[in-house]
């Protein structure tokens, strides 16, 4: 039971930290991109990157972090930090794309209104971020949902070490490989519950916005 609680807590903390880390660059990037003129192309590129395979990110990160690799001296391979970095990279296109859509929509309406009334660039940004906030929170919840449900990064750069880097998805993979299907299904249901709670949260935010 303690191990199960540990896995759940670790999964939430790692994916939550990765989402928050990704938000520190994704939201400013989305705002910056929304000020440009070619957001249509940017949307297309970001949407393509949203579907990037997690194992590919895991592999690339491994090739940077392994002991003989360029950043091997950091010694963070097979630590929760490596999973956080990998998941942050993974969810960046998703958070940026959804935030960009929302910020562009709000900019066209309230941003231009503020500008037409004489607001400075900073005051326009305040208005846009204020009214985009529900959409941005939605983007973060979607990012968290993607991060907590991914396997490739957690397995390759986390190593599935018991009590240290084992998270829900890697624990499910392990139980399946052992033939412990009941355990795997239980963990799968817990993962589903977390994702379902996020989906309900998203719906509430969307409902509040409409």
């Amino acid at each position: 039971m303690d191990e199960l609680l540990g896995i759940i807590t670790r999964s939430i903390i790692i994916s939550g930290t990765a989402t928050l880390l990704a938000s520190t660059w994704s939201i400013p990037l989305a705002y910056k991109l929304s000020r440009g003129t070619s957001t249509g192309y940017v949307h297309s590129i970001l949407e393509a990157l949203v579907g990037i395979p997690t194992v590919l990110i895991g592999l690339l990160l491994y090739m940077i972090l392994c002991s003989q690799c360029p950043l091997g001296f950091l010694g963070i391979l097979y630590t929760p930090i490596a999973i956080v970095i990998g998941e942050a990279v993974l969810v960046t296109p998703l958070i940026t794309a959804v935030s960009l859509y929302e910020i562009t929509r709000i900019s066209g309406r309230y941003g231009e209104l503020a500008l037409s009334l004489g607001a400075s660039d900073r005051q326009v940004m305040e208005v846009v971020l204020k009214y985009s906030l529900p959409g941005i929170i939605g983007a973060l919840l979607m990012g968290f949902s993607r991060a907590i449900g991914e396997l490739g990064v957690a397995l390759i750069v986390g190593g599935n070490i018991k009590g240290y880097t084992r998270v829900l998805t890697t624990a499910i993979a392990l139980e399946v490989s052992r033939g412990e299907y009941e355990e795997a299904i239980l963990l799968g249901l817990l993962l589903l519950l977390i994702v379902a709670v996020i989906a309900v949260g998203l719906r509430l935010i969307r409902g509040g916005k409409d």
Partner: protein, 226 residues
């Protein structure tokens, strides 16, 4: 006050909405821009309202090339110019919160701003709507409120995009009276409209926009283009 020199604009890089336009508007002028839907009236108003940078040409504001100025200089000028959208736009919230915004961003104290807002709403018979939410109000009232909001910080140049839309005749005359008062203070007004009542009542120069070109027309020929 504001001059367009060789202004062209395109949204897609192919079709020119505006083509090589020159226009001089002096302080105290009233300028009407007429033309069919899609002729570029909103585009030229947004360019003169300093919201949109044209792909080609210069905007001279009191002799200064606006888009070549440093950001801080541009903000100073932009605070003297207000553009009012065709479909009145408001932030979610109450009327008073919306009317406070242009004053708040200019650093007015709340008490002073509220005093100005109350005075303006009272003078225009709208004091009852002050604390109402904007989504409870009719489009006609919102149109008038959007014009009053634009006039609150006393801009030197006001640009109105189809301001008589959504209004019945009584309210059209009400808006014209509000604008006549604004003009009488030596301010400058640029309006896009389909409504012949406007230029007939207020005078001023009339331009027709078509095929990306702007040409001045004789007020007597108004009927032929409406």
């Amino acid at each position: 006050m504001i001059r367009l020199r060789g202004v062209s604009h395109s949204y897609d890089g192919r079709r020119l909405v505006l083509e090589n336009i020159d226009l001089d508007v002096e302080k105290g002028d009233i300028v009407f821009i007429m033309g069919p839907n899609g002729s570029g009236k909103t585009t030229i108003l947004k360019i003169m309202g300093l919201l949109l940078k044209p792909v080609k040409g210069r905007i001279l504001f009191e002799g200064k090339d606006y888009w070549s100025l440093p950001v801080r200089e541009r903000l100073k000028i932009r605070r003297r110019v207000i553009y009012v959208h065709e479909n009145p736009l408001f932030f979610p919230g109450t009327v008073v919160e919306n009317l406070l915004y242009p004053l708040y961003i200019r650093g007015y104290h709340r008490e002073k701003a509220l005093e100005l807002i109350s005075k303006m709403l009272r003078e225009n018979g709208l004091i009852d709507v002050m604390d109402k939410r904007v989504d409870e109000l009719s489009s006609g009232i919102l149109q008038i409120l959007s014009i009053l909001r634009a006039m609150l910080p006393n801009p030197d140049l006001l640009l109105l995009d189809e301001p008589l839309n959504h209004l019945d005749l009584k309210n059209q005359l009400r808006v014209i009276r509000i604008l006549e008062e604004y003009i009488s203070a030596g301010k400058t007004l640029i309006v896009s409209t389909h409504n012949p009542l406007f230029p007939r009542r207020m005078g001023g120069r009339i331009y027709e926009l078509g095929n990306g070109r702007l040409r001045e027309i004789d007020p007597k020929s108004l009927k032929t283009i409406i």
